[in-house]
Amino acid sequence: MIIDQFFSNQQLLSWAIKAFGIVFALIYLIYSIAIYQQVKLMRRTVGTTLGKYLNSICFFEIMLAIFIFIWAIFLL
């Protein structure tokens, strides 16, 4: 019954998604930065051709995390 009420209340649902999005984006941002640093470190250890592409993908992940954060705060 409570779940039904929750899903039928559009405002409450919107706030729940917003809050979840903000927390998710922050955790995602921390992990993305960590993996970016890790790939940078490993690129120095083992130089491979794919390394720079991996670094670019990690950078894209950081940008995506920032975008999700902004989206959750301002657009949703």
Binding site: I17, F20, Y28, Y31, I35, V46, G47, L50, L54, E61
Partner: protein, 181 residues
């Protein structure tokens, strides 16, 4: 097997004489073999991500009746970014866990969790024993297994886990040791 001609086999998990460089490489040091875990051992996380994608598609069918369009797009972006991160972290974990055999030493580079790196290097003249082990249906069928390199005294031992063609790797190391003697 000829270890002079550059070859990248099994999705770069068995690289013969690659042109790559590594940290601390000497001027006259040449990479003979570069090993990663066999691609078949990575199938589980690839299948997992397909499964997660499938869950997302099924979830979308139910979300249409609950959320509005922008909320559905937002939830989809969240889930897709999570799946992409899962793929990226697993791929980089596989890609940078390498074993390198040069004409001077054997190097094992591991990274376990985020920001944890371990590099073990053993000189060829310190190697006492090389053992290759492969057990189970999958490892026999796809020819992958573990290679254990034991060293003299207090030197660290090196292990290459789930590498392709473990018998060939062990033979290559033994040939190098004999050449050194």
């Amino acid at each position: 097997m000829n270890f002079n001609i550059t070859k990248h086999q099994l999705f770069h998990s068995f690289c013969i004489a690659p042109k790559d460089r590594f940290d601390g490489q000497n001027n006259n040091e040449e990479i003979i073999l570069k090993l990663r875990a066999h691609p078949i051992t990575q199938v589980f996380w690839i299948l997992n991500s397909f499964f997660l994608l499938l869950i997302l598609i099924v979830m979308d069918i139910f979300l249409v009746s609950i959320l509005n369009f922008s909320q559905i797009v937002f939830v989809n972006v969240l889930c897709l970014s999570w799946i992409s991160f899962y793929l990226l972290s697993n791929f980089s974990h596989w890609y940078y866990n390498v074993g390198i055999i040069t004409n001077q030493r054997i190097i094992d580079i591991d990274f376990f969790q985020l920001l944890h790196k371990e590099v073990t290097a053993v000189m060829l003249n310190k190697v006492e024993d090389v053992t290759s082990k492969s057990s189970g249906f999958l490892s026999s069928f796809f020819d992958f297994g573990n290679v254990f390199i034991q060293t003299a005294g207090t030197e660290a031992n090196v292990e290459f886990m789930n590498v392709p063609r473990p018998a060939q790797v062990a033979k290559a190391i033994n040939d190098l040791i004999n050449k050194k003697k």
